[in-house]
Symmetry: C2
Subunit: 193 residues, 2 copies
């Protein structure tokens, strides 16, 4: 998606450790008008027919996923990272390794809100190692729901998450795949579709 | 806001410890159509003129705040709870006590995204003890920005947060103020406006 790539080139910063900082428009200060354009692009890429929910994981993906849920006319579900006492029993759980927190965290989703009748589109802002996605997919499996597609704003193509998810056969679409991010700048993967 | 109150009465559950569970439409599974109605109500209650940003705190307020930011045509800022290495220096910080996590957490917001030129509307899903709000207000003060109003979906009127914030003179508007939540059910405060 050229609009997103242009914005990454204009405002994104590469930090040591191949960290790509886009917190001026995606995940700290959020440009909602851009999120709307991204949502429209996902609407073009994924069929809305039969979908019952948009699924994401807290926290930084929620803003984009909320705008997408509105665009698709669907409810938004977000898996939580276990820590609160506010959630009773009856949970799907999946343990993932968080590279952000540098420890294992447990994703949880109430069984009430996802069942075998659901057909789900996952939306997230970033894909790198794919641990969050692996956890969400595991939760969808536990529910017996159907995963119809995965829409990602920015994929770090030099990390293994995207490759792994595609090898599993899922319909993963990333709007900007970054293959290189270093002192020489940011390079995107050529689009083949 | 009658629509929200009706929904709370229909689907909300009271758990031991005066916990009000509305995770079927507000903060786990999110009814985006309802969020849109709430956003429109805030648009009626607060003047949009001159506002430069919607501010919230991760995680559960982000979905509502994102929909509000779209309704107001403004960018969304969300304060983070410190834990990640992805944020460099140059931060506003405010220590709050989290009743959810039962420990102190530090709210952080990058100085890049909030300055003395900003006029901010805070949006959050819940107000109980008001610690998160206190932290956001502290951050706005550090930035020298102006707080124009605070829009809350559900206020627990039997906890001290709302009273404290109003006594400080801020324009706080809660769409449903719950004065009682126990085995006898949920009772709302009469609206005086």
């Amino acid at each position: 998606m050229q609009l997103l790539k242009d914005r990454i080139l204009k405002e994104g910063k590469v930090l040591p450790g191949n960290i790509i900082k886009v917190d001026g428009f995606l995940n700290h200060r959020v440009d909602i008008a851009l999120m709307k354009e991204i949502a429209r692009e996902f609407r073009r890429l994924f069929k809305a027919d039969g979908l019952t929910a948009i699924l994401t994981v807290e926290a930084s993906g929620i803003a984009l996923a909320a705008v997408c849920a509105e665009e698709f006319g669907l409810p938004l579900l977000f898996a939580k990272k276990a820590k609160s006492d506010n959630i009773e029993g009856g949970l799907y759980r999946s343990d993932i390794y968080s590279y952000t927190y540098k420890k294992q965290v447990t994703l949880i989703l109430s069984k009430q809100w996802l069942t075998e009748k659901d057909r789900v589109l996952i939306i997230d802002d970033f894909l790198a190692n794919g641990e969050a996605l692996r956890g969400l997919i595991e939760i969808i499996k536990q529910a017996g729901a159907k995963l119809e597609g995965i829409g990602i704003a920015i994929e770090k193509g030099f990390q293994p998450g995207g490759e792994r998810i595609r090898r599993m056969g899922y319909d993963l679409k990333s709007l900007a795949i970054i293959d290189e991010a270093n002192d020489n700048g940011i390079k995107f993967r050529e689009e083949t579709r």
